[in-house]
């Protein structure tokens, strides 16, 4: 059956420093602060992390998100267009079965959702995907 989910896997091996983002979100500085706090200023490389989100969210109140990064010690989720970009941080313990987590999040409007993984070797990976958030007709 059709999957309206868009798996967003950025191929490994393109060591692009993360400071440049394709589109500046409204809360850019908050996003940068969150990233800096998580990475301590280290380089963030695209790849090795899968962020799964619907292309179109039927309602911005409850958007299912899945993130997975084998070998990650922790993964931080950011909603770059929300007034407070921080969404959640998954910290994996010794009995973690896979370095992945699923949750449901609130998105105030169409925006890029970003995931940054701190790998066990101390390096950082990222992925992002655009989620369209619509305003309903009569559902509101």
């Amino acid at each position: 059956m059709t999957l309206s989910r868009r798996d967003f896997v950025i191929g490994a091996g393109c060591g692009v420093a993360f400071a440049s983002m394709t589109s500046l979100p409204a809360y850019a500085s908050l996003v940068e602060d969150s990233i800096a706090a998580f990475t301590g200023g280290a380089d963030v490389v695209s790849g090795d992390i899968v962020l799964d989100a619907p292309e179109i969210a039927e309602n911005g109140n409850t958007v299912p998100i899945e993130v997975s990064a084998p070998g990650a010690a922790s993964i931080m989720l950011l909603a770059t267009g929300n007034p407070v970009p921080a969404v959640a941080t998954f910290n994996f313990g010794p009995l973690s079965g896979s370095r992945s987590g699923n949750t449901r999040i609130r998105l105030i409007k169409t925006q890029e959702v970003m995931a940054i993984a701190k790998m066990e070797d101390g390096s950082f990976r990222s992925a992002q995907t655009t989620v369209k958030v619509t305003i309903g007709g009569c559902g509101g």
Binding site: N61, A88, G93, S96, G97, N102
Partner: protein, 109 residues
């Protein structure tokens, strides 16, 4: 203590030793984000579940920091390794200081 906060968890009844299983959790909680305004225009203060932990026989599986962007009735799904029979312990921490927990046993077989 927030009103009507009730956890639900889904864990398989049994697993093979060393198997990875999927754990699903949900807890009924408003997750007041701190962004909403009341009828007088004043911001309703933030009041959310800010942390969730899952331990198995005393060892940590996952430790999640939750922010206001997590939806009402926070849903968290993750995987856990089951080295032996035992008990999962799930704990949610509320901004207001309350702690909610529940546990589930799992057998090997």
């Amino acid at each position: 203590m927030a009103k009507n906060v009730k956890p639900r968890v889904k864990v398989p009844k049994s697993a093979a030793a060393g198997e990875t299983i999927t754990v699903k959790t949900m807890i009924s909680h408003k997750m007041e984000s701190g962004q909403r305004k009341d009828s007088d225009g004043n911001k309703i203060p933030r009041s959310i579940i800010n942390r969730f932990t899952c331990d198995f026989n005393g060892q940590n599986v996952i430790d999640v920091t939750l922010e206001p962007a997590i939806s009402t009735n926070p849903y968290l799904q993750f995987d856990a390794v089951v080295p032996e029979a035992g008990e999962f312990k799930f704990t949610w921490y509320d901004d207001d200081g309350s702690v909610y927990d529940t546990s589930k046993k799992i057998a090997i077989g």
